[in-house]
């Protein structure tokens, strides 16, 4: 029996390699200075979805929410064999917290239509919250199974999963549709296929086409550029190389539930804890000096 899978993926700044270069003078992180990468655990979700399709038939639709640049990871998905890729990009979605993000993603999944399994990575390395998966499941009204370590079987619309619940593992069963979040122990993600790279490296979303056209036709009028964009988009579509570009209107989103307005949690203050190491503070081995050091570590929230 074939199954239709939706895969949620995120492009993230590579927070595992934050160096002093990525820090601004005021101590905040300059996201732009960090390489943007495929969120690591989402690669395992991608593999899990592809394995279901390869074994049972059906389809995999990858969706990502982010700036036009996030089309990079959708191309990575196409190189590995997803059937359809959608970029949800809209400035009005900026500053969404996990609740607003999950609302937008759930609306997008509903817009895709029928699905049997939604796959997502357990968490993204920029926020490490692991909240968007469960929140999306709630908004979609489906059963959630977090921390997938092995997709044991799917038979007659019953999925059986081994999950790691922290104090051990358990095998559980549920009827489709479900949303699962995948751990990095679940499988070995396949490499990109050379033939697919050759084919899909030219895949674009419309916004990318527009900026390429603007760069190439600096002296042309706005109308000429628009014509050129339309022509290129048509060509890409005919060749199956157009990555669909959606915005909040496409998915019929209630704007009061998106972006800052739809986000209950607000960032009140941000403090950098990355240090440039230039020598160290010498602490004499005395009660008073160690007490002072611990005080400093508590004040800067290094110690809870």
């Amino acid at each position: 029996m074939p199954y239709d899978c939706v895969l949620m993926v995120k492009q993230v700044p590579d927070t595992t390699n934050v160096t002093a270069d990525a820090m601004r003078k005021d101590g905040t992180v300059n996201r732009g200075a960090l390489p943007a990468i495929f969120n690591p655990e989402d690669k395992y979700a991608l593999e899990a979805a592809l394995e279901v399709r390869d074994r049972h038939g059906g389809s995999v639709t990858a969706i990502s929410m982010g700036p036009p640049k996030a089309a990079d990871i959708l191309r990575e998905c196409l190189y590995r064999g997803v059937d359809r890729a959608i970029l949800l990009t809209d400035r009005r979605a900026a500053a969404s917290d996990t609740l607003a993000t999950s609302y937008i993603l759930a609306q997008a999944v509903k817009t895709i239509g029928r699905f049997d399994i939604v796959f997502a990575g357990r968490q993204a390395i920029d926020g490490d919250t692991a909240q968007v998966g469960p929140q999306c499941a709630q908004k979609l009204g489906v059963t959630q199974i977090t921390y997938l370590e092995e997709l044991v079987s799917i038979e007659d619309r019953t999925i059986r999963i081994r999950r790691n619940f922290g104090d051990g593992w358990e095998i559980v069963e549920a009827e489709l549709p479900v949303l699962v979040t995948v751990m990095n122990t679940a499988n070995r993600p396949r490499p990109a296929a050379a033939r697919k790279i050759m084919r899909f490296k030219r895949a674009r979303v419309e916004m990318e086409v527009a900026s390429e056209v603007s760069a190439a036709m600096k002296s042309a009028s706005a109308d000429e550029r628009a014509d050129q964009v339309a022509r290129r988009v048509d060509t890409l579509r005919e060749g199956g190389l157009l990555i669909e570009q959606w915005d909040l209107d496409t998915i019929g989103a209630d704007l009061s539930r998106c972006g800052l307005a739809g986000s209950p949690t607000k960032v009140y203050k941000v403090q950098s804890i990355v240090l440039t190491k230039e020598g160290y503070t010498e602490v004499p081995p005395t009660e008073e000096a160690t007490r002072q050091m611990i005080r400093e570590l508590i004040v800067d929230h290094t110690l809870g």
Partner: protein, 342 residues
């Protein structure tokens, strides 16, 4: 979301498994008690499960004024649907202003589902919580006595303080081991309230086929703070000091290869090129000379404290704080200093 209720209680979700409370729940009871005192309101715990004998009394001894019990034989093993319904229904009934959950794997499964159901805020993995008046600079409005939800973000490179003005309750998951557990007092008075929540069968959508409970493996990768010992510790017995330090700071125990090779501790604690690579917020290296193989596994820590008798030890080259001295004396000082501050 619920209406803003400034008389609302401060709640703890009392996660239990097979009738045993998670340790983080007791840690949260201490914090909830403190927050409730600051706000001048009561503290409560919400306790769903199947066999809960003795648990309400423990929660009261750890600082709860009220324990809301949802006993149902079908709640024997945790699953998201009925547990989130039970917690959500009680929130809607009693309108707490704050709800705290342990950031255990299952707490992180439940909390966002509840938050989404209520369309309320949820902040993940807090390491500190405070009550403070907050000025909303956009609306030019001061919100009194909000919960500051402090958490590391961006791979631990920044500390963010999150607030929730009006989409209440203010809810957060809290890291295990970061809040000090207060001494229980079995003479504390408290009220046990039996609650009935309608849990239709279709909420029980997940069937358990098989379960293996294992002792938790050492989670060095996920640890925010690590106390590590090396060959300089001297013996397996004296390595106890490293465990005690880790306990005091709420961290994990790490080791250099020398300590593992000398049999002071198991290989699963080894940090370095051949062990685990870590990047915690704080790394305390005691009696570790700091061979390049070890440094490769820990030098990305946000802060490093090095303790060594040899002022020339290479570990000092990556340290932020260096203590030249005998770890037998320095570590007890550190432990005392940490405990005093809590």
């Amino acid at each position: 979301m619920i209406e803003i209720n400034r008389q609302g209680e401060v709640w703890v979700y009392a996660e239990q498994q097979d009738g045993e409370l998670q340790e983080v729940v007791l840690e949260l009871c201490g914090k909830a008690r403190e927050l409730a005192n600051t706000l001048g309101v009561a503290a409560g715990a919400v306790l769903p499960g199947a066999s809960l004998q003795g648990l309400p009394e423990r929660l009261i001894a750890h600082g709860m004024d009220r324990v809301y019990v949802v006993q149902d034989d079908r709640l024997g093993f945790y699953q998201t649907g009925p547990y989130s319904r039970a917690v959500g229904a009680l929130i809607e009934k009693h309108l707490p202003q704050i709800v705290l959950y342990g950031a255990t794997p299952l707490g992180r499964d439940l909390a966002p589902r509840v938050g989404s159901e209520m369309r309320a805020g949820m902040t993940a993995d807090c390491t500190d919580l405070e009550i403070k008046d907050v000025m909303d600079s956009r609306a030019k409005e001061t919100h009194e006595k909000l919960l500051l939800q402090i958490r590391p973000a961006f791979g631990g490179n920044i500390i963010a303080t999150i607030v929730n003005y009006d989409m209440w309750p203010q809810m957060a998951t809290v890291r295990e081991g970061v809040m000090p557990m207060v001494e229980p007092d079995s003479s504390r008075p408290g009220e046990i309230i039996e609650e009935h929540v309608e849990l239709p069968d279709e909420l029980f959508a997940v069937r358990l086929i098989e379960r293996h409970v294992e002792a938790r493996t050492v989670n060095l990768k996920g640890a925010r703070v690590i106390a590590a010992g090396g060959g300089g510790v001297g013996s397996r017995q004296k390595f106890r000091l490293i465990h005690e330090l880790a306990g005091a700071i709420g961290g994990a125990v790490g080791a250099s290869r020398a300590a593992v090779d000398n049999g002071y501790i198991g290989k699963e604690h080894q940090i370095g090129q051949t062990g685990t690579t870590v990047r915690p917020a704080l790394y305390i290296a005691a009696g570790i000379s700091g061979a390049v193989q070890h440094r490769a596994g820990m030098e990305e820590a946000a802060k490093i404290i090095a303790i060594n008798t040899d002022p020339e030890a290479p570990i000092f080259s990556v340290a932020h704080y260096g203590i030249v001295g005998d770890l037998d004396k320095v570590i007890p000082m550190l432990i005392r200093a940490v405990k005093e501050r809590r």
